[in-house]
Amino acid sequence: MRFGGVAANQLKAVMNTIEVIEPVAVEVTVNGQRYQREVEPRMLLVQLLREELRLTGTHIGCDTTYCGACTILLNGDPVKSCTVLAVQADQGEVLTVEGLEKDGKLHPLQEAFSEHHGLQCGFCTPGMLMSAYALLADNPAPSRQEIRKGIAGNLCRCTGYENILNAVAAAAEEMRGE
């Protein structure tokens, strides 16, 4: 038998040189729901979220810890999920953009991004929202400069950031009940 021009015995010889890597058990709680998976050690957290759990709200942008599109909260802290192995998140609590909405109602940050045109193409938005969420959890009344610093690890190529700053400031005000 031939597979794409390769004889079966040749294919078998190649296969024998490829070592099978033992999968590792990972258990994570994502947006309040617990998941268990057996994953390859090299699987990144963002791939676990997107490809295994089908939570595709978290985006992969630069894939090199630059752009912040893949930002999620791991045990309460914003991290770039393209630079965390799924196995490193074992037993962890993850919050993704899908977890912001409650009972069919958008989070005030999501409302504010919509209201203040805090996005154009929307690619960076999930990461922006998660960084802003972490910022406001830490500092409910940030100055404009503090918002800039809070989202400094998230790049946006459309908006020029001004409307994002407006949106975060408006959401902060809303969340403080002002």
Binding site: G68, P78, V84
Partner: protein
């Protein structure tokens, strides 16, 4: 983008990590926060056969200080250091910890990983040169401490032996009349710095430079200890002129590489400004002034 396949091992203690690394041999790497190593692996700069995850070893995550000494465990993240009493007491440490990348990276990246990577663009090695720190290591032959100047040997090369890991760092608590500043310039928060400068200054009688240490980061293949620049200031009253001369001597000591962060000539002009700026902030802090400072970016 996947790294090349590897086997994963989780170490529960330092001794277990050393024994795993020892058994697994040359292809194995220790994984701390992964903010340098995982990127290298994704870009296939490195293809380890095995990763030994140090991330859950409780004994590696600590911060201690008294009036004599500061000790920080290898697994302590930049973010935790930035928010610590150590950073509150020693502003140069806060400058560095807060200047590294962005919140996300600071939440994962560790001081031990930054040191062990031997990457001249990492901030901690340059800061630790400024503070004349020692790197605490443990391997199959036991524990030892290595001066930072001997620890970083070359580009991506450290004094770590096979199966030896960084367990922490320590440095002397700066004297009451000593203060420093660590400043850098980068294109945006997540970018590695174009260049950085650390200055730790000890002043007597207001403006006499009793002692000084100056180190430069991203200024060559290893952090640069600018000894000639220090000689321009040590034992003298500080003046605009000798600060300028010190900056010149620091620039002469550096050997920046040509890369996407700028040409050597550009980096030298940045370094000249950074050294002067760091001296200025250090002087103000020696005078008891509280000065907020960190890396600058557009």
């Amino acid at each position: 983008m996947y790294p090349a396949p590897f086997r994963y091992h989780r170490a529960n203690s330092v001794d277990e990590a050393i024994s795993l690394l020892s058994d697994l041999g040359d292809g194995a790497r220790a994984l701390a926060g992964g903010q340098t190593l995982l990127i290298w692996m994704k870009l296939r700069f490195d293809e380890p056969s095995d990763l030994v995850d140090l991330g859950r070893i409780p004994e590696l995550s600590y911060m201690d200080h008294d009036d004599a000494e500061v000790r920080i465990g290898a697994l302590t993240t930049h973010g935790r250091i930035a928010a610590s009493p150590i950073a509150a007491r020693i502003p140069i440490v806060r400058d560095c910890a807060n200047g590294i990348a962005d919140y996300q990276v600071r939440n994962r990246g560790t001081i031990g990983g930054s040191v062990a990577a031997g990457d001249p663009a990492c901030d901690w090695p340059a800061l630790l040169h400024t503070l004349d720190a020692e790197i605490l290591c443990k391997g199959p032959n036991g524990e030892r401490s290595i001066d930072i100047k001997d620890f970083i040997e070359d580009l991506y090369a450290t004094a770590l032996e096979d199966a030896e890991i960084v367990t922490g760092i320590r440095f002397k608590m700066p004297a009451a009349n000593s203060a420093g500043a660590y400043v850098g310039f980068k294109r945006c928060a997540p970018a590695y710095p174009t260049a950085t400068a650390g200055v730790q200054l000890t002043l007597t009688d207001g403006d006499i430079c009793e002692d000084v240490r100056i180190a430069l980061g991203s200024a060559g293949l290893t952090p640069i200890h600018a000894i000639d620049a220090e000689a321009e200031l040590r034992g003298k009253p500080l003046s605009e002129k000798n600060i300028e001369q010190a900056a010149e001597a620091a620039v002469a000591a550096c050997d920046p590489v040509d890369d996407q962060r700028g040409s050597p000539a550009f980096k030298r002009s940045v370094l000249r400004v950074l050294v002067k700026r760091a001296v200025g902030i250090a002087v103000r802090r020696c005078g008891g002034e509280s000065v907020e400072s960190s890396h600058e970016y557009y």
